[in-house]
């Protein structure tokens, strides 16, 4: 019987793949045979190292395009790389994002612009670029990273919440428009996940967040990567326009 999780011969782009959730997704897709094109912001050295490591560990072709995902040209360059090297694109993971907290009245304009341009406009650019190459192959899976905060909101996260709620709206619209082309579009809404972002949270706040999780533990990047693998694979071949919460029963 064919392995429904096998991704051999398929080409995947993962943005924000230098570390954290994006890195875990890249490694998980590679472990299942996917050819990868990775993106990391500005610091070309970090994404270059990650690409080499993943390629050697999983014995799959991995290339990278360094660049700020808020710029439309970056996602265009990623898809062009897929076209030039492989002539196809099967999976596009819009993962790159930033978390800038601030109470209402305390968020400077440049933080609002940065959050919306990376977390939301970056996703819109990615969807537009990916869909064009995917439709040539007659199939594809686009996975957008939202957040539990985008579904339910949170104090001190006005802008982050708006950006991640926007990702859900974009996912629903894109899923409808691209379904006739057999391109599926889904979102993942992680809860409290153990990444560099959350390690900066004060101890008391960390304990409070942990107490709000029904399963009593913080999530891991691998928990999110496993969900991305499901959405990327044929196991989810009839799933589109969905927002999958991966939060261990967290209440916000």
């Amino acid at each position: 019987m064919l392995d429904p999780l096998a991704l051999s011969g398929r080409v995947a782009i993962v943005t924000g793949a230098s570390r954290g959730i994006g890195r875990a997704i890249a490694e998980t897709l590679a472990a299942h045979g996917a050819t990868l094109i990775l993106n990391g912001r500005r610091d070309g050295e970090a994404i270059s190292r990650a690409s080499r490591y993943i390629s050697e560990k999983f014995n799959v072709p991995v290339s990278y395009v360094a660049g700020d995902i808020s710029q439309a040209q970056t996602s265009a360059n990623l898809v062009k790389d897929a076209f030039t090297r492989h002539k196809r694109l099967d999976i596009y993971v819009n993962n790159a994002g930033v978390l800038i907290d601030g109470l209402i009245g305390m968020m400077p304009e440049h933080d609002i612009d940065a959050t919306l341009s990376i977390n939301l406009a970056g996703v819109l650019h990615g969807v537009q670029s990916a869909a064009r190459l995917m439709q040539r192959g007659g199939r594809g899976s686009i996975i957008n990273m939202s957040s539990i905060i985008g579904r339910f909101g949170n104090t001190g996260q006005l802008v982050y919440s708006a950006s991640k709620a926007g990702v859900i709206g974009a996912t629903l619209a894109a899923a409808k428009e691209l379904a006739p082309k057999n391109i599926r579009v889904n979102a993942i809404a992680p809860g409290f996940i153990d990444t560099d972002m959350v390690r900066q949270i004060p101890e008391a706040k960390f304990a409070e967040r942990l107490a709000s999780i029904g399963m009593g533990r913080i999530g891991t990047p691998q928990d999110i990567a496993n969900t991305a693998l499901f959405l990327a694979s044929d196991l989810s071949s009839y799933v589109t326009g969905q927002v999958l919460g991966v939060d261990g029963g967290m209440l916000v």
Partner: protein, 74 residues
């Protein structure tokens, strides 16, 4: 190059441009709406084995403009 472009117009919009002998304009020619435009783009990319720049896609407002733009990819 004209042959390839004409073939795409024939297939997508069901019109024969005859190398520009017929006036074809975005949003005026029957079928050349936003959906038809994206099908035209897909057909041109397939025929020329290329990826069009976003600015070029938005600039393709007439058959003549398509010819001018596709010359860059031919």
């Amino acid at each position: 190059m004209h042959d390839k472009i004409d073939a795409v117009f024939k297939e997508v919009l069901n019109v024969d441009p005859k190398g520009g002998a017929i006036t074809l304009v975005y949003n005026e020619t029957e079928g050349w709406n936003s959906v038809g435009h994206m099908m035209l783009v897909a057909g041109l990319e397939q025929a020329f084995d290329c990826m069009l720049e976003m600015d070029d896609i938005l600039d393709m407002s007439s058959y003549e403009k398509v010819v001018e733009i596709m010359a860059k990819y031919a």
